[in-house]
């Protein structure tokens, strides 16, 4: 396991080149190009704000404008969701390569996930504009964000690895991931604040790293609070266990990749 991870680290050049390759391929064929990275989060923000703020009147605590509240949760969610879908397909999409040359296969899902960091960055640009529009600055506690996001990313990778491998054996996996992500979206406090969840269901959200981290992003960035340490620690444990388990499964299944294509 440690040897595998070390071997992976040695091939970080390859990871970089693969990420660039994905990135170039992503929007190259479209007229709007990278503008699509803005269109998706922006249109979702507008529609969701209209539905949940104007029609359903969800009001976040502390007089926070709903679009801002929404967007701080929506950007990491969209990143998670897009990265997981694209990571799940990454090995299948590289099938010609996989049957010809050996290289650590985890490069493929990792590169697919890293590619989506660019979309995340564009999302942050929109967020910056939105904050300027409402005349707000990120709170000082925002220094937590990189650490929180790093752990969130580890969780995401740990989930992507086994799904990418399984998708090679069962092509149903990609559809399963699509369905699961839709349901997961509603069970994650993106469009609503986590505080309105009835107490007896709280455990469901504590065990959901997406809920834990999205709540922590909001607390630190918008409310100037420290994250709930106990919940975040549980999130760390879940993230690390998922990563190690997911990576282990991926390496186990890796040997059969070329035979299953």
């Amino acid at each position: 396991m440690a040897a595998n991870l070390l071997g992976f680290w040695r091939r970080r050049d390859l990871l970089w080149h693969m990420t660039i390759r994905h990135l170039r391929g992503q929007y190259k064929q479209s007229v709007l190009g990278y503008a699509w990275a803005f269109v998706n989060p922006l249109s979702q923000m507008i529609i969701l704000s209209f539905v949940f703020s104007t029609i359903l009147r969800v009001q976040p605590a502390g007089d926070l404008p709903y679009p801002l509240f929404l967007f701080v949760g929506l950007i990491p969610w969209l990143f998670f969701s897009n990265a997981l879908s694209s990571g799940t397909d990454s090995v299948v999409n590289a099938s010609t390569l996989v049957t010809k040359v050996y290289f650590p296969r985890e490069v493929l899902p990792t590169a697919a996930v890293f590619t989506k960091l660019v979309d995340l960055f564009f999302g942050l640009v929109i967020l910056g504009a939105l904050m300027a529009y409402y005349g707000r600055l990120p709170e000082a506690t925002s220094y937590w964000l990189p650490l929180l996001f790093g752990i969130h990313l580890i969780f995401l990778l740990g989930l992507t690895y086994p799904l990418a491998a399984l998708n090679l054996y069962f092509h149903d996996v990609r559809f399963l991931v699509g369905v699961a992500l839709t349901l997961w979206f509603y069970l994650t406090p993106v469009i609503y604040p986590v505080d309105i969840v009835p107490d007896k269901y709280e455990i469901l959200f504590d065990l959901n790293p997406n809920a834990v981290f999205i709540d922590a992003y909001r607390r630190t960035m918008l409310y100037g609070e420290d994250p709930d340490v106990e919940k975040v620690l549980l999130g760390v444990v879940i993230a690390v266990v998922t990563f190690l388990g997911g990576y282990y499964l991926f390496k186990k299944m890796e040997k059969g990749f070329a035979d299953s294509i």
Partner: protein, 257 residues
């Protein structure tokens, strides 16, 4: 050193020890079929043996040809050496860095330029960024693509594509080179250049494994050959002798031999 290999060689570059490779021929790949197979307790798909109890070694610096009919397990043997697939039984040992000249340009991305693809492909073959930068001028010159190197490869002709793929592979400083029928690519000039390059590799003591159904390629280039017949090792010895034995079984050549 260019001796024929013998099993006592202290350090063979490649060794197959009782290698069997089985595949499952699957009809479909959905959970429904999987569930049906589990419930009915039938194996999931039919088993197919690509290789059965194959053992051979290749000494460092040796040039081995693998000959046999379609479906005899030649490509499977190459894949095992390349490390893209694992044996079902037995063991495969490979000593050095393997560079496969198999379907060149498999790692190319059509939207990237030639230059970017050289970096990507070199990196896939295990070259460091420094090595790629060092080798870059030589790669471009070898591929004869100086004017086109900053153009997306989707605008390349198929010949240009293959030339660039070959150029990267031969400059990746391989210790083991795997060649699968690719010597027949490009125009006559480029073919000649590839042959020259292969001979140069041979001189430099790089281990080369060539898969081909062409008797001529094998006899003219390889020291030794193995003949695979329905996944079993039918003969192993000097290239000329093994090829002659193989050709004797091909009806068309019966009278000629």
């Amino acid at each position: 050193m260019q001796t024929a290999s013998n099993p006592l060689d202290p350090e063979p570059e490649i060794e197959f020890r009782d290698v069997t490779k089985r595949f499952f021929l699957k009809d479909g790949r959905t959970l429904r079929e999987f569930a049906t197979a589990i419930i009915s307790r039938k194996p999931w798909g039919d088993e197919f043996r690509a290789l059965t109890d194959v053992s051979f070694t290749v000494a460092r610096g040796e040039t081995l040809g693998i000959i046999g009919r379609n479906g005899s397990g030649k490509s499977t043997a190459l894949k095992l050496i390349a490390g893209v697939t694992a044996p079902s039984e037995g063991q495969v040992f490979v000593g050095g860095r393997v560079s496969p000249l198999i379907e060149l340009g498999a790692g190319f991305h059509p939207d990237l330029t030639g230059r970017e693809n050289v970096h990507l492909n070199g990196s896939i073959l295990g070259m460091s960024e420094r090595e790629i930068n060092e080798q870059f001028p030589a790669i471009v010159e070898f591929a004869e693509l100086q004017e086109f190197i900053d153009m997306p490869v989707k605008r390349y002709s198929s010949g240009m594509y293959v030339r660039l793929g070959f150029a990267v592979a031969v400059h990746s400083n391989p210790e083991v080179l795997l060649v699968d029928e690719v010597l027949s690519v490009g125009d006559a000039f480029f073919q000649e250049k590839c042959h020259e390059r292969m001979h140069e590799f041979k001189q430099r003591g790089i281990t080369i494994v060539v898969v081909s159904h062409s008797a001529e390629t094998i006899t003219s280039f390889c020291d030794r050959a193995i003949w695979l017949d329905h996944g079993r090792l039918a003969a192993d010895g000097p290239a000329k002798r093994v090829v002659a034995e193989y050709m004797a079984t091909v009806p068309h050549y019966m009278e000629a031999v």
